[in-house]
């Protein structure tokens, strides 16, 4: 469905993206993950035919985005970072205009506008001016705008920015609902979002793909190690030294307070046991000990920033 090959975009001397290659199958939901400025938006803009790559190519349904931009644009619904809204239009008129631009047939205009309004729960505000809508509603109008032509491919650049938690979960449900019918690429730097809706994840950093795999496989990247959360009552100065001296403990991080600690350890039950024992003997006052699953966040941070983000107390 979408095929991207050695895509490069330079802004002057700066490489926004460099030799990006990936492909997305029909009906798949792919999460585009990366820190700010990683090149997510640039890649998406190129796929939509909005801008041309410096080299390499991108194809949607077999059409090259630069050679046949009109064919590509017919098949794509795009929500940019800032929803492209005309403040002086009514929601309904706006969606109708977008549908006309996207080439929806005249007879189907009304029904596609109704469909988009319904899917994004905007029916109650259809007769309101866009400039009077709250940020959450505006974002939803943006999503409705991408949906209105019922495109094969949906490209959503940070679709849940500015929404409240209830709306976020609504949008996630909507994306889940669209799965299968549409091919969806969504970019975000919010990890739970990807975990909630995406089947496959592409992590991109500084314009390069650093990982591309299914969620399970990526989470398993850190297997062999585990994280232990520790909460104690009386921390003492020798705590770090004592704990990191234990067999199997790799690193000790300080938590939010002096009472919370996180440990990177080898994945063995004995390690937990020995930590617990040591804490008891030293009289630190054990309150809680639990093993935290190595989650996507760790993978993400490891891949994009290396390990330098968390302050290492002792190694």
């Amino acid at each position: 469905m979408i095929e991207v090959s050695s895509l490069t975009k330079k802004y002057g001397e700066i490489h926004a993206i460099e030799a990006l290659s990936f492909s997305v199958k029909k009906g798949e939901v792919v999460g585009f993950l990366g820190p700010n400025g990683a090149g997510k938006s640039t890649t998406m803009k190129i796929i939509t035919g909005y801008m041309a790559p410096t080299s390499g190519y991108a194809r949607v349904s077999g059409y090259d985005v630069f050679e046949d931009p009109l064919e590509v644009k017919k098949r794509i619904g795009y929500l940019p970072e800032t929803p492209p809204l005309y403040n002086d239009m009514y929601v309904q008129d706006y969606l109708r205009y977008v549908a006309q631009l996207k080439g929806v047939e005249k007879s189907k205009l009304t029904s596609s506008v109704d469909m988009a309004l319904e899917k994004t729960n905007l029916t109650e505000v259809r007769h309101r001016l866009i400039q009077n809508l709250s940020k959450g509603f505006r974002q939803r109008v943006g999503i409705a705008q991408a949906l209105v032509s019922d495109p094969e491919v949906l490209i959503l650049d940070e679709p849940t920015v500015g929404l409240d938690p209830k709306q976020v979960s609504e949008i996630r449900d909507l994306i889940k609902e669209l799965r299968g019918k549409h091919t969806i690429i969504l970019s975000t730097h919010i990890l739970p979002e990807v975990q909630a809706v995406c089947e496959r994840i592409i992590i991109i950093n500084k314009g390069k793909i650093v990982a591309e795999d299914s969620l399970q496989n990526l989470s398993a990247l850190k297997s062999g190690a585990q994280k232990i959360n520790l909460r104690i009552k009386n921390p003492q100065d020798d705590l770090v030294r004592v704990l990191s001296g234990l067999k199997g403990v790799m690193k000790v991080y300080s938590g939010a307070t002096r009472n919370n600690w996180t440990l990177d350890t080898e994945k063995q039950d004995e390690v937990i046991e020995s930590i617990a024992k040591e804490v008891m003997i030293r009289g630190y006052g054990l309150l809680e000990i639990s093993s935290a699953k190595a989650d996507l966040e760790d993978v993400f941070l490891k891949l994009t920033y290396g390990e330098e983000t968390k302050e290492v107390v002792h190694g």
């Binding site: 909005y50 801008m51 009109l70 644009k73 795009y78 940019p80 492209p84 005309y86 977008v98 631009l101």
Partner: protein, 257 residues
């Protein structure tokens, strides 16, 4: 064609639901309603004086020259300032509000975008010219009006404003700021009247001819007197096409820049 009309309708609606457009129209009528009766009055007095003195040039005794053409020249002055006000937001605002993303990711060509916007702008200008036409039209109640010549004179102003519209749309496509676009557009509109002035300083007859041909006032002056020349029509069409083409290139350039 559907897409051109979608853009055209949207932009036209943008003019019509925007109070600014009506304010501009209202202010224009205030100015015209102030000046036009004064012109008419002066003309009436001159006609009375003619009975007593015979040295007054004949042209001043023709209502077409003495009243209507002056009316048109004031209208032209207003259009120089008003057309940029109407055109400034057409592209600048799209860039600023990021709605340009929508147009550029929709299956429409740059030419369709430019044509749709240009046509909407021309309709808005036509409204103002239509308002100006009401004054000579109502004069016909108590004076004999040569409708054909009057119509051709208004056609001349319409063609000139079509050139303004083209240039000003181009200015709007260049910048994100509506103010910058406005200032640039006014400068363009004023400057185009001075291109023909080059004819005064060149010696070679060929160069002078060229300057005469590209002089806007030369072409307009024949139209306002009621003469339609093919060359004139071609000249105006060329200018409109030129700036339409330039706008289209600017819109297209955002794809590869």
């Amino acid at each position: 064609m559907d897409k051109v009309s979608a853009i055209f309708q949207k932009e036209l609606r943008g003019f019509l639901i925007n109070p600014n457009f009506f304010m501009v129209c209202g202010l224009c009528t205030v100015i015209m309603s102030w000046i036009y009766p004064i012109q008419l009055n002066i003309f009436a007095q001159e006609l009375q004086n003619y009975v007593y003195q015979t040295q007054i040039p004949k042209q001043q005794l023709n209502i077409h020259y003495a009243v209507f053409l002056r009316h048109l020249s004031y209208l032209n002055l207003m259009l120089i300032l008003v057309v940029p006000a109407l055109s400034m937001r057409l592209f600048s605002e799209e860039r600023k509000m990021r709605t340009f993303d929508l147009l550029l990711t929709s299956p429409v060509t740059s030419a369709q975008i430019v044509i749709g916007k240009y046509l909407a702008l021309m309709v808005a200008i036509l409204v103002i010219i239509g308002l100006a036409f009401l004054y000579p039209a109502f004069t016909s109640i108590f004076a004999k009006v040569n409708w054909l010549i009057l119509g051709i004179a208004f056609l001349g102003i319409f063609l000139v404003s079509a050139v303004y519209a083209g240039m000003n749309l181009f200015c709007s496509s260049l910048t994100e700021s509506a103010i910058v676009s406005y200032v640039m557009a006014v400068i363009f509109n004023v400057a185009i009247w001075f291109v023909g002035i080059g004819g005064e300083i060149v010696d070679s007859p060929l160069a002078r001819k060229i300057f005469e041909h590209i002089s806007l006032s030369q072409h307009l002056s024949s139209l306002v007197e009621g003469t339609i020349r093919t060359g004139t029509l071609v000249f105006f069409a060329t200018l409109v096409f030129l700036f339409g083409f330039l706008s289209e290139r600017v819109v297209e350039s955002s794809r590869w820049r």
